[in-house]
Amino acid sequence: MNAGGETDAYVLEAHGVGKSFTTFERQPGFLGVLKNFVARKSVVVDALSGIDLTVRRGETVGLIGANGAGKTTLVKILTGIVPATTGAARLFGRDSFHLRNQEKARLALVMGQKSQLWWDLPPIDSFKLLKEIYSIETVDFDRRVAEYTKMLDVEDRLKIQLRQLSLGQRMKMEIIGAFLHDPDVVFLDEPTIGLDLVSREVIRQFLVRLAEERGVTFMLTSHDLEDIEETCKRIVVLDGGRMAFDGDLAALSAQVMGKRAIEVHVDPHTPIDESALSRDIAAFGAVVAGRSVAAVTVVVDAARLPELVPALFQLLQVRDLSVERQPLELLVREIYRRSDREGSSIAGSRPEGASV
């Protein structure tokens, strides 16, 4: 199974990967056009720098980061769509930009923003083309189409032109198309963008099940942390093209697992004395995790919740109060904050090569 230089351990590797794009500034107006013609000003954008990442077979990696952090660029490099400017990216032990058909046959890519299927064809026809492209056995093909459409609840949409499907139905078809050839590694770039809660949930369950049953390795990017929480065991956080965090989601959420985030809304005209509040709630083992003009977020052990909530009503002019189960959002915000402060990556908080 292991072809060429594939090391047993890693299906996916990035060593010091960087990518810069050169663009030419376009000035507005007629004079601007003339100026551009005479002397073009080029701008180099560093989309990624110094990314080190190794992923083992069967790992599920959630890739998160703000808009423009470089997630899509990393996916493009790892899948060989664009070459890295510096460093080395490898898939199945082979340079990503020079994948051969045998490696490509084990890879799949789902892009939330762009269709992998043929726009003018009904999904079933696209699937048949994919069957040809990936040389899928007919029995496997029929079984998977039946099984996957059932799991994602789109059995009755197979013969409708792709362009006529709803966003959610189309996305499900894209995902089915990606899994038809039983790939070993699947990249999903925002597969749940714009989908409703039910569709998201169905897709998450699909991914979890395939990861479990078939040992598929996948890398998922999403702005919805719940997607990541439910499907991935490991998270990688990008911030401004650098790696801000790479580690176990379980370990990370262990720190916050039994915790609850309480968001307290107060009267904006009575200012909160944060240091006093911190002192008072310390008795309950709680800390202030964030605040805005009219709200403050407090994090506490779930067990102490019944004591703390009444106390908060005494300490603050509470207008409204909500309790969040799992403050991963807070944690990620904390990661961003730390990477900003240190100005460099805190990757390596994950021991080299530790597996999940």
Binding site: T72, K76, G80, I81, V82, K104, A108, L129, Y134
Partner: protein
């Protein structure tokens, strides 16, 4: 299995996939073309009819003014009698239907809008899909050209271009189709410039004009000044348009066919190498926009 054997078997399975895919693509392209009947008629049947009609009109005027008696039929220009010119234009009408033209390919848009991204991660050569369009085009146009020829022959009989022999027909068709493939490769190469430029369409229009002229779609190459006709006879467009018609008319024979075959084959190989080169360089430049 040794490494070499593995290589061969993987090559074999690649080739098999390519072929199966080619057949599928051709089918898909056919469906796309025939979907709209009026569009089909305008594009595939009427297309290429107007230019020859205009040419006939112009040639008639030129021959008339060159003739002492004022009758076009009496004049001879550069070894071409008027009746021959008429048959040349008839041949042109058929041949130009078979020649691949840039409209059949929107590769540059696919590159520009990032639509090729999805194919880059799939285990096959993207070029096979493009070749599928060429094959589909060629099959369809051979059928259409045959029908048009039969119809014209039924209406006009011997005044229409009748090939001198089956051998000549085979030779002419071989040259036209090989030339057409060269034309296709050139179109692909110009389209791949979309990795760097956004003016591909104007380049294609210019290239098409040059090919028509050099190939003899405006006037027979052998009617041009000697320096031009001898220079152009080294280029594939001549062997794709002017020469095959002259072979059909019996003005050129087997020795010319063989020379043409050699020239076109060499240029086809060169163009294919250039296509590989630009494609590879282009991909290194690709940013996969819109993802």
């Amino acid at each position: 299995m040794t490494r070499a054997e593995a290589k061969v078997s993987s090559w074999e399975s690649d080739a098999r996939t390519d072929l199966a895919l080619l057949v599928k693509t051709v089918g898909y392209e056919f469906r796309k073309r025939i979907q709209f009947r009026t569009g089909f008629f305008v594009r595939e049947v009427l297309n290429g009819m107007v230019q020859p009609l205009v040419m006939l009109f112009v040639f008639a005027a030129i021959y008339r003014s060159a003739s002492a008696s004022g009758d076009a039929a009496d004049a001879t220009l550069g070894s071409w009698q008027y009746s021959e010119i008429v048959r040349y234009v008839a041949g042109l009408l058929i041949v130009m239907k078979l020649v691949f033209n840039a409209r059949g390919l929107d590769l540059s848009a696919e590159i520009f809008e990032g639509r090729i991204t999805k194919y880059l991660t799939m285990p096959f050569r993207y070029f096979v899909l493009i070749q599928g369009r060429f094959v589909q085009f060629t099959i369809m146009q051979v059928v259409v050209a045959t029908l048009v020829w039969c119809l014209a022959y039924a209406l006009m009989g011997d005044r229409w271009l009748v090939p001198v022999s089956w051998l000549a027909t085979g030779q002419a068709l071989t040259l036209v189709l090989l030339g057409s493939y060269c034309c296709f490769l050139l179109t692909v190469i110009l389209n791949t410039l979309a990795f760097w430029l956004d003016v591909v369409w104007s380049l294609l229009v210019m290239a098409w004009f040059v090919i028509s002229f050099v190939g003899g779609a405006i006037m027979p190459v052998s009617q041009m000044p000697v320096w031009a006709s001898s220079a152009f006879s080294w280029l594939f467009p001549y062997w794709m348009i002017s020469a095959p018609i002259e072979i059909l008319m019996g003005r050129l024979g087997t020795d010319a066919f063989l020379r043409g075959l050699a020239i076109v084959t060499v240029q086809l190989v060169l163009l294919d190498a250039l296509r590989r080169f630009t494609w590879r360089r282009g991909l290194a430049h690709y940013v996969g926009a819109g993802m």
